[in-house]
């Protein structure tokens, strides 16, 4: 997806971030309401502790406030920028504590995750963002297991690709290829939402 083919939500996000860059607190308030849920959920998933996740989220939003002026729409959407910022801050915290792997959820064995596609549908009827969440979970769950495994390790933990290779007992090239293929499949399948 290029910057020129942005969705209405992405355009609205860009306008909000531009206003935040000019010190508009009401725009920040609105962006917080839009992003705090998914960013908090991500931080909680990675850190496994509500208090830590809240501290991380506070750091992230303060960074959004201070760095909004430097946001470049050519590089990523506001949502992806915020997600990757959150992930970066969470990894900083994980590494600072010396915790190599805080939480690793096996989607297939997690009853909550296994039920997501069905249980989330009722919520998705009323909230668009939940539609999107259900869809992303479905796409992720439908990746080949070896690709989903490396994607989840690469995204939800602080392991490097070298460490993932060691952990899985796979050659580094294999791990790189699985990450590439998995991410490309996600991209292709998510593209259809447009």
């Amino acid at each position: 997806m290029s910057a020129e083919t942005a969705t209405a939500q992405q355009i609205a996000d860009r306008e909000m971030i531009a206003r935040i860059g000019r010190g508009d607190q009401s725009a920040f308030d609105a962006l917080y309401d839009r992003l705090s849920g998914p960013l908090y959920s991500l931080a909680l998933r990675m850190l496994g502790d509500a208090a830590d996740a809240q501290e991380a989220l506070q750091d992230v939003f303060l960074q959004i406030w201070s760095r909004a002026g430097a946001y470049d729409p050519q590089q990523s959407s506001v949502f992806s920028w915020s997600v990757l910022l959150t992930r970066s801050r969470v990894i900083d915290r994980l590494r600072a504590r010396g915790r190599r792997l805080r939480v690793l959820v096996d989607v297939e064995e997690d009853p909550t995750e296994a039920a997501d596609a069905s249980t989330a549908e009722s919520v998705a009827d009323t909230v668009n963002k939940d539609d999107e969440a259900v869809r992303v979970r479905s796409i992720l769950n439908n990746l080949p297991s070896e690709q989903r495994e490396v994607i989840e390790l690469a995204f939800f933990t602080d392991l490097t690709h070298h460490e993932i290779a060691t952990r899985l007992g796979q050659p580094l090239g294999t791990v790189k290829a699985r990450i590439r293929r998995g991410l490309l499949k996600l991209r292709e399948r998510l593209r259809t939402r447009l």
Binding site: Q54, S80, R137, R180, L183, R187
Partner: protein, 238 residues
């Protein structure tokens, strides 16, 4: 055309898995290829969407209040320097100047008060008077008492004595000033009590007393002596 190796690096870059050197090398490639930049952007979007795969949780409302408070605080602290800091720039100098002025005023006021105190002391004899209470020594009459009012500036004093019996014939009581600047006590004259053992006499030491530490009464030969010879009967400090 994006090579497979570039795609591998792009995927790792989008997920933030490259180390600093690898990332720097890849960014130099990005700078040269709009196609590669667009590819990375798409991978980033896909990576960002992974966050949506996590079961949704809402942060507590208190967190938003904390964040908004921080924002307001940060905004206040980062207000334009031209508006905020001039006052802080000159404030220490202003405070120093005020302190210097205040100290100067205090010094002037202290000098004025000292002058006023000196004037008051000069005008009021009581302010210049040092009182000494003399009590009997072991060889002195037990009931005898004496009080000396000494005015250093005038080098004079008054002594009042009670219950001091009249000395035997050929003897007199003699008053001495024990001065810090003199090796021996300075004679302040012979004292004669009445039949009731009372005396009130104005005296003046025979020599200048710099700093009288005590007064004493001794029993001496009649008419007094230039240097103390007899026993001390009464003595006391201020």
């Amino acid at each position: 055309m994006i090579t497979e190796e570039q795609q591998d690096q792009a995927a790792l870059y989008a997920l933030g898995l490259l180390d600093l050197d690898e990332a720097a090398a890849f960014e130099s490639e990005l700078g040269a290829s709009a196609e590669l930049r667009n590819f990375v952007r798409e991978l980033r979007e896909a990576a960002g969407d992974l966050a949506l795969s996590v079961p949704s949780q809402s942060p507590p409302a208190s967190l938003k209040r904390r964040v908004m408070s921080e924002i307001v605080l940060e905004t206040e602290q980062s207000a334009p320097i031209s508006r905020r800091y001039p006052s802080f720039a000159w404030a220490p100098w202003a405070i120093a100047a005020i302190l210097i002025l205040f100290c100067g005023l205090l010094a002037l006021d202290r000098a004025r008060l000292q002058r006023e105190l000196a004037n008051i002391r000069a005008a009021d004899p009581l302010m210049q008077t040092i009182f000494f209470t003399l009590t009997p020594s072991e060889s002195g009459p037990a009931d005898a008492k004496a009080t000396v009012a000494w005015q250093p500036g005038q080098q004079t004093g008054v002594i009042r004595i009670t219950n001091l019996p009249i000395p035997e014939s050929g003897r007199d009581y003699q008053l001495w000033a024990v001065d810090a600047a003199h090796k021996d006590p300075i004679s302040a004259g012979v004292i004669r009590v009445d039949k009731n053992g009372v005396a009130q006499i104005r005296f003046k030491p025979v020599e200048m007393a710099q700093q009288v530490k005590a007064f004493a009464i001794s029993l001496e030969r009649e008419g007094g002596v230039p240097k103390k010879e007899g026993p001390i009967l009464l003595a006391g400090t201020a």
